[in-house]
Amino acid sequence: MNIKIDNLFVKLGNKPIIKGLNLSINSGELVGIIGPNGSGKSTLLRTIYRVLKPETGVIYFDGINIQDKSYKETARQLSVVSQHNNFSFDFSVGSVVVMGRAPHKRLMEQNNSDDYRLVREALTRVGLSGFEKRRFNTLSGGEQQRVILARALVQNTETLILDEPTNHLDIKYQLQLMSMVKNIGCTTIAAIHDLNIAVMYCDKIVVIKAGQLMGVGTPDELITPELIWDIYGVNATIYRTKDNEMYILFTKTI
């Protein structure tokens, strides 16, 4: 799915967070959004997945303004893995994942055996086969994120948004989750804190600072020590491995 963001302004309360942002995302790309804390990464993503409403500006999915679509329609085009998944009631893994079928169901339509087959397949794809009956709240953080990824898979959308999905995960799970996402192969937009993870997996990097676009490009052409200094105010050196992969090393600042 192509996503086009046209002159977007978003406020949280009275505070402007996104200030006139334009961005195009092409079908099939894995796009990483980077930027310092409070730069508006999450706000941008939350506006794309419609939890927040833009002040002005328009977001288009395949050329159609999302405000003209129902939530159900956009939920069939776009799934979300975010960092907040604390439930005050305990669900089984199976019932968490099967909720991904909700946008494909009429209000009173019940889940059928096909839906449960999709749930089993999705859990297998994220490496959690046989987890249906486990209690979600008893899983580790990495497992919980993979359950939510499985829910996004059964939602069967062209586009996936990852809203800082690897926070709280240790390095193994971070790499595992990103590899899975890369393998799924749908258009993906991910807010990522760790620059090395971003350059390792993303086709395109979008840099945001203070609610405005600072740059768009492939990791190779975009990420430089100067840019890192500009957005984070830290010194960094960029190394290359034998396979010409980037590696960013930060220098102590204090």
Binding site: V51, H84, S88, F89, F91, S92, M108, K133
Partner: protein, 349 residues
């Protein structure tokens, strides 16, 4: 047998238990009847061309059809309705401590009853004027909560809860005000009794209304089980899964206010069922609403029918308010279940 058919089996068994329990409870009371008498009287009542609610068709008929059956049915309906509304309220405000009375319904109803009993409002118009006033208080407060919550945009769970609690306090204060200035000892006593709840007032006139509203409401919520599941995931997740919960939340509050309002009208205030039965049901079938709702409804019905039997047979020629019985039997059982089953509703354990 897989997990889901096991749950369906348990629900089906409980339905049978409830029916047997209702039948047996016709036997017990100040006059003990034999199964044979009961069976014959029920069949006679069904095939007779006289309406069953006409008295004077023999003592057996009067005891079974006029005295016992309506209150047993009412107990079942009230138990099912309150337990289901408890589940729904816990989903709406995403909090395991919610009960059907939380959105100001309890103090709205109490205020209505207080005004009716102490000031005699409506006493000439309706036979059950206390019930009518309580119904109006309960539903009125819920509507007011919704109207206030709609001012200034999104109606979210915490806002509903806080407004409900604030209105609760206003109503309690107003009740206290009326009680304080009425200086009416007898009136205060009858308010206290009324608030303990009783099925003694059940009759064939109101039963179809209360039963109809409750059953339709319960079926409606069972059909909407996915929305209720979604409420526990929260508004943001719901939007990303294609659902805007604001509208559902409000219509559910309104419907459960109507259900609870009618139950309050015919049986007074019955605490406990709506708060604890949902948890017992969750221990047995888990959080998914499509099993939880029928389970909670059946358990609520079974519990209240039992409590009613106990309340009218424990002390001879006297009746203990059913609210007291429910809490006395129910609460210790509940604590036992929580301790033994290591139950948590979830969250950070």
């Amino acid at each position: 047998m897989n997990d889901n058919s096991k749950k369906i089996f348990i629900i089906f068994m409980l339905l049978i238990v409830l029916m047997i329990e209702m039948f047996l409870s016709l036997m017990i009371g100040s006059v003990d009847l034999s199964l044979h008498d009961i069976w014959r009287t029920i069949v006679n009542g069904l095939i007779s061309d006289k309406a069953v609610n006409m008295p004077g068709q023999g003592p057996l008929h009067d005891i079974i059809w006029i005295l016992r059956m309506p209150r047993i049915l009412l107990a079942g309906i009230a138990g099912a309705g309150l337990a289901v509304c408890g589940v729904v309220m816990q989903a709406i405000i995403k909090n395991p401590l919610a009960d059907p009375y939380i959105m100001g319904i309890s103090s709205g109803a109490s205020l209505g009853a207080t005004v009716a009993i102490l000031l005699g409002v409506g006493s000439g118009i309706f036979s059950n004027f206390v019930g009518v006033a309580a119904f109006l208080g309960a539903v009125g407060i819920s509507v007011l909560v919704l109207l206030l919550a709609n001012i200034g945009g999104n109606v979210h769970a915490v806002k509903l809860l806080l407004i409900g609690m604030a209105l609760n306090m206003v109503c309690s204060a107003m009740s206290s005000f009326v009680v304080y200035f009425a200086q009416d000892k007898e009136g205060i006593q009858s308010i206290t009794f009324w608030l303990m709840g009783s099925f003694a007032g059940a009759d064939w006139l109101t039963l179809p209304v209360v039963g109809g509203i409750s059953l339709v409401g319960i079926l409606f919520f069972i059909m909407h089980n996915r929305v209720l599941d979604m409420m526990l995931f929260g508004d943001e997740t719901a939007v990303t899964l294609g659902m805007d919960l604001h509208y559902y939340r409000q219509s559910y509050v309104l419907l459960s206010a109507l259900m609870v309002g009618f139950i309050v009208y015919s049986a007074g205030m019955l605490g406990f069922v709506g708060l604890l039965v949902p948890h017992v049901a969750r221990i047995i079938v888990g959080t998914e609403h499509r099993y939880l709702l029928p389970m909670a409804g059946l358990l609520g019905a079974i519990l209240l029918v039992l409590a009613d039997v106990v309340s009218r047979s424990l002390i001879e020629h006297s009746e203990i308010p059913v609210g007291i019985i429910i809490s006395l039997i129910g609460a210790p059982c509940f604590v036992y279940m929580i301790v033994r089953k290591a139950y948590f509703t979830g969250g950070n354990q």
